[in-house]
Symmetry: C3
Subunit: 512 residues, 3 copies
């Protein structure tokens, strides 16, 4: 009997090992994908190896559909027959859906191929996520920046080349797609268009490829050649498409770390971030659903904004959502913080002054474009339900009171800076809308931009996520207060200079 | 015989596994804690799971006391009988010691409960640490900031709301506990007070809770409802209370990363920090004592400032200490660096000019409040003993020579900035103490603050910890030197403006 | 038969364990090194433990030479007989090669010892790497900074102590080796010289040691007592000399994180950096060669600039190189970006204006000192071959087009700032070369320095490595554009002030 158990134990070990090997060695790869790999294992070996380690390379859609719904990572109920029983490989993503890609698709070694896999391609299996994402303000990040004349004016003032003629600066007209693509549009997304064809020498002889403008890009609001918006690879990078990756805060940090939107830096100094950094190497970032306290013990970005979260009994705390702002009552980011816009496309907004802004320059919200108090309450409660997974009600309520108070206070400090700028415009120390000039190109205007874009935003993110450094000395209240003093000093000096000039111009005139 | 060994091996494996399971499944949890968990596993599942994984949930104080002293994590020699033979669960921390919590304790489902576990509560088992901590300047972080009129003036100038009346700025009176709580007091600690009661709907029907002001907070100098100071959870966050967490630098970074006190950023670019980030995932952060070279091969914050460190032979290199400044001969942080204050409460200090500062504005130390040269030597040697665990004497001595030289140099650069500011005050380009005005509210004053608070401090931390970036271009000497030039330019321009104004005022007068 | 297998399995386990133990317990340590360890296990236990875990402590050079060349970490074909059959321990590095160390070598407990192991010492086994490194611009980092009068002027303006006499600032003459050693020279490297002897009390009684100036230091261009340049420990820190460490980006961050050269920060927000941070804990950083896609799935600094990289078939993608700039067609860092210098020692360069700079102040390159277009192409292709391991040709080509465009654009924005500064010099608002004064000591000059040193450099690094934050709001184009406006404003105000002064001086003169 004893011998039996020892034998059983060892056999069991061997069987496990064989089973694992079998799974790893025999994924059902389509013939077409096998052919792709045949060349690309030499042409681009890194991404082939990367894909081979991915879940995509190990599970067919048909297998994925057999998981209980709560564990499922696929959101359609059926996939096209040609894809169902093979793993999701090169051909499946880069070809099957390529009719819609128009001239971006091309003949490649006997196959029709498109280089850029779009959100519409991913939607073949992940339809619910693609749909949710289309309601996410991020999916419209291109238009929200480039089709909003005020925002475009800001882009021009930053990316445009300035010159100096010996007495004054000149901002050259800005129409430079290459610069935009690697600055603002790196995150917002470019428009990818086919711009002719190019022939290249390859290991298999000459081959023809479409020449792509706006490429490479992985911005969240990328306009794909098939007209769809967004690039899933922003957060699920090729070709491992790892869920762990998307759940780790480094992923979001790619676009949320700058002084304009320092969510990642704030998280880094928050208690949540510190727990993640200290203990996170032992957490399970691959589990679906994601079990609070068991798989992880402090939230990452994805916990509060995206993932399907359950408690230890399996009860759902938060539904998976790719409309990441659907638990955000406010838009913290902006000239003033305000209720969240209703539509993902914010370039349609017009305030009373006729500007495409969700607030007046005085801070009053353009309410018809913004969610109402009831929707705010629903969103607040959805977010608070996650907080309540670990914190008591009084903790959570006070946390939100502080955030709302901070919104008020930072809006007030922006209004003060706006008053100084308005005085500068009025008294001729700077030229703004009334003079039909850019409101972003002069030093005092740029100081005003920093007041809200860097300092008020940082202070609000710090409040929302508990990263006090960014509420005080790291781009926070210290700078909110200092910047006002510096703006006031500059205004005073420029007005004095202006009076001198006026006086100087007056005197000779008097002598005529 | 061979069969015997194979059998023995397998049985052993099984036994180990059973034993581990038994330990994990059957910690002796008090009946009261079991009752807490019964509801809270649904009410706040995250913290229940977190606690279940903690050492607190697995070892009773009586068991902890059986460890050899060198391995012990408990510092009393006996615990109250009611606690000795159960693991340290909800009830043990949130109830047993609650008489002292006064009106912050409340009836909750048949138990007397206090929400906030104070340093006095933790002292039931960790008395030595609580006592040491009371001598740590951090335990007085609230008073040191808020009861020092000069420091309070700085708080007001940062957190107060400014307005602009068309020609000048106005700093509104500041008395905003909510803003303070999420900026300065996030780290320094709030005063937590009961402010009435509140009734909430819960899964178990209506329940009454105390309404807490200043909550949530985990600041190092938090004033608890029982009058005790400090919140152990600053560094040992709930509810895993992980030693690894406190030993990892992310924990300290929560309050030591801003430009005012960039210890964490300096560590990040130091050789020590780089070794930790590259190799630290393989180190043992849970061992007590912590064995140099074996458990870790480069120091984290805790190594030099807190932990019990031994060499490979078990010889003690450093005693555990929660008076973290007891190896610090200097206080690097301040208008000028100086010998460390004697007492944790620095709000009692008065310099010759009558200001509550450990230095004069000229840099001369208020020596009677500061440790003497002998104590400095003792502290220096205690710290150097840790350095000498890896570095030769010449290395360590030269390292300290550099730090002392840097203190002198940065103090000199602060003095220069102070001279410029004093001239501004004197000649009417700004208003300071002589005019009974804030010394922190005007642009040139804020530039002066940055000279010491950001740039001199960064340079000194960089010197102390070998993170040269912060000694040069990252908030270091580059800015020390640039800021002086900018202050001098602003002074010159403001004086010229003042003369113009004076002249302008004089002329019409002359015409009378 | 079954019993046989169960037995075999267990015996195997035991044998493995015994073998591992044997390897760990019996490395062939030289008698001399054993004697070193005998004391130093108590004197400096941390580094002894650290070394014991290193590869150096486990493999003799003779064993290392038996590896196939592709797997070898040693680059000579033979080592001195005395070293061949012992592991590389204390004595082997700190003594065998000590004749060349001159007076830095000393009698120590019966041995001749030198404290500082130089790049020449390491070259005994790693000759190819030491030779490559000597062509790396980093090996000349000391001379390139300190022997270039323009760069030295910058050092003086930063590290020199300024004073204020009530009306103007004074930059004191700067000759402070201690400050330089812990600011600029921390990374660039100090000159280490023997400065007398010192007697110390040790556990073994009084001992005499050389007193070292410029020590400690691990800068990349350190001038060692044996005259060799560079300190291998910059990237391979003592005493684990871990390859994993050198391949992780934290190592490079020690000197490449500041605003002047933010490669590490840019990497941190790049897609590559995010993948590393999210998934890198599972990669193999010790494998030689380093297999793309298998050992790692996104590049670190070492992947593109240093390591021996192969594809999954073992084909070489990139040769190991310690001349880290040999895949860099451009030098991105500088007043203007330009073709890479030919020689590592750049202090020999003279531009047409006679300045020791690789460009004119107008941006025109001093071409005779810079690599030609053909070499640029070779280097570009070498780097692109690594990119092509994962990315298609169109991706890689467009990436380089963007970088080249960004070089042009940032150079243009630097030229504009230079024009403003030139006007200031010309019209007397600042004093520059024409007035035989420092071009770095006044506020407007320091603003100009930030234009190229911080903002243009950041924007270029962001372009090169895909970290857009640093191309826009994090020290990027936002600041490039803002800084020009602030320089123009300051110039205008200073000129107005100058006219006032001139007028004031003229009037009394007219009255004479």
């Amino acid at each position: 009997m004893k011998r039996f158990w020892s034998l059983f134990f060892i056999l069991n070990l061997c069987l496990c090992s064989l089973t694992l090997q079998a799974q790893a060695e025999e994924p059902k790869i389509s013939e077409q994908t096998q052919e792709c790999i045949g060349c690309h294992v030499m042409a681009t070996p890194g991404i082939v190896s990367d894909w081979e380690k991915s879940r995509m390379a190990k599970i067919t859609p048909a297998q994925a559909l057999q998981s209980p719904e709560i564990n499922r990572r696929i959101s359609v109920t059926a996939v096209p027959e040609a894809m169902a029983n093979v793993v999701v490989g090169c051909y499946e993503c880069h070809s099957l859906n390529n009719a819609s890609h128009k001239e971006a698709a091309f003949e490649h070694n006997g196959f029709n191929i498109h280089t850029i896999v779009s959100s519409r391609d991913c939607a073949v299996c992940h339809e619910v996520e693609a749909d949710q994402y289309s309601h996410n303000i991020m999916s419209e990040a291109y238009a929200n920046l480039m089709h909003n004349p005020v925002h475009k004016m800001l882009v021009d003032s930053i990316n445009g080349i300035q010159d100096f003629d010996g007495s004054k600066t000149i901002l050259n007209p800005h129409n430079d797609e290459i610069t935009d693509a690697e600055s603002c549009l790196y995150c917002h997304g470019t428009i990818i268009k086919v711009d002719g064809k190019v022939t290249r020498e390859t290991a298999l002889g000459e081959m023809e490829f479409p020449r792509l403008k706006g490429w490479p890009n992985q911005g969240v609001g990328r306009i794909n050649p098939d007209g769809s918006k967004g690039s899933c690879t922003s957060c699920h990078p090729r070709h491992s498409f790892s869920m762990a990756m998307a759940r780790k805060p480094a992923t979001c940090s790619e676009c949320h770390k700058g002084p304009d939107v320092p969510a990642s830096k704030v998280y880094d100094v928050s208690k949540h971030g510190n727990i993640y950094k200290s203990l996170g190497t032992k957490w399970d970032f691959d589990a679906v659903p994601w079990k609070l306290g068991t798989d992880f013990s402090a939230p990452t970005c994805a916990t509060c904004h995206t993932s399907l979260i359950v408690d230890s009994a399996g009860e759902i705390i938060a539904q998976r959502s790719h409309q990441m702002n659907d638990r955000s009552p406010y838009r913290l980011f902006g000239i003033y913080a305000h209720a969240h816009p209703i539509k993902a496309d914010t370039s349609i907004i017009k305030n009373k002054a006729g500007l495409p802004l969700p607030v007046e320059l005085t801070g009053e919200p353009a309410s018809e474009y913004l969610i109402d108090a009831e929707t705010q309450t629903t969103r607040r409660q959805a977010m608070q339900k996650i907080c309540l997974g670990c914190h008591a009600t009084s903790w959570v309520e006070n946390q939100y009171k502080r955030l709302e108070h901070t919104i008020e206070q930072t809006n007030a400090m922006t209004l003060t800076a706006t008053k100084i700028l308005a005085t500068a415009w009025e008294k001729g120390a700077a030229k703004g809308l009334a003079q039909k000039e850019s409101i972003f190109d002069e030093a005092i205007e740029k100081m005003w931009v920093e007041q809200w874009l860097f300092f008020a935003n940082s202070t609000r993110f710090a409040s929302a996520m508990g990263g006090a450094d960014y509420g005080v000395f790291a781009d926070g209240r210290w700078y909110l207060s200092k910047n006002i003093q510096e703006m006031a000093d500059l205004l005073e000096l420029k007005l004095a200079l202006g009076q001198d000039k006026a006086a100087a111009e007056k005197k000779p005139a008097a002598k005529k």
